[in-house]
């Protein structure tokens, strides 16, 4: 199923998804669409190194790893604007977002083994070269 095409089409809300998929699977598709949008929105920021997600009960936990080593208020302002827009857009979902500054060090060890990587700048670069 081409989730990007659906996203770019008309299906952007829980109610609309229910019309298309029915109640049973709508939440799964909604979460997948949300992850696509999270990837699209955050990968625009050069300092975003990778994005991991994991599900805890009904909660989507998103960790946006940053290639910086100290707090950057201007960047945080932008990241939180993006987060607010995503939360408002998908208000039927409940999230946590975290933005650990990990600089260039590989800090994937801080992630849970079951966490899913939905974006990695390194992988994207390799993919773009190919």
């Amino acid at each position: 199923m081409d989730l990007t095409r659906i996203y770019r089409g008309l299906v952007e809300s829980k109610v609309e998804l229910e019309k298309v998929f029915g109640e049973k699977e709508e939440i799964i598709y909604l979460e997948e669409l949300t992850l696509l949008i999270i990837e699209q929105e955050y990968s625009r920021y050069e300092k975003v190194k990778s994005i991991y997600v994991q599900k805890y009960r009904a909660e989507l936990q998103v960790q946006v790893l940053l290639s910086i080593d100290e707090y950057n208020d201007e960047l945080m302002e932008n990241l939180l604007d993006t987060e607010y827009d995503i939360r408002k857009r998908f208000s039927c979902l409940t999230f946590t977002f975290l933005y650990p500054p990990v600089r260039n060090v590989e800090r994937e060890d801080i992630m849970h083994p079951e966490a899913r990587c939905i974006f990695s700048r390194q992988e994207k670069k390799l993919w773009q070269i190919m």
């Binding site: 009960r57 080593d69 939180l80």
Partner: protein, 125 residues
């Protein structure tokens, strides 16, 4: 009589949150600009904000974050308290209020887990 007692108890919850918020705020002002204890200063500021938020929440339909978290079919909490609180903040506050609250949580986490190893050791006498 019961009404007045219930009202008294209800107000106590509100007052306790405000008192705790003020105490945390004073602690934050003492510690936040004094490394290496800045981490707990920022954390105190975050928990001050939580108590101010909870004092406001007390007069809404939710009353408390922890007791208003939705339950799933197995009787378990659907969300963590932090996630549920942030959802309420998103739904009820302005963008500016949301960002101020979230910044405190981020700064608190970064200060506690990631800053001491960099600046803390050199500050210990």
């Amino acid at each position: 009589m019961y009404f007045f007692k219930a009202r008294e108890e209800a107000m106590a919850d509100y007052v306790i949150h405000v008192l705790q918020a003020e105490h945390n705020e004073k602690t934050a002002k003492k510690l936040a600009f004094n490394p290496p204890c800045h981490d707990w200063g920022i954390t105190a500021a975050f928990y001050s904000a939580i108590h101010y938020f909870e004092s406001w929440l007390f007069h809404t339909k939710h009353k408390h974050t922890e007791t208003s978290i939705l339950i799933d079919n197995e009787g378990k909490l659907k969300y963590t308290p932090h996630a549920w609180r942030e959802k309420i903040v998103t739904d009820e506050f302005t963008r500016r209020g949301f960002k101020a609250f979230r910044k405190l949580r981020e700064a608190s986490g970064i200060a506690r887990y990631l800053s001491f190893s960099r600046i803390g050791r050199s500050s210990i006498k």
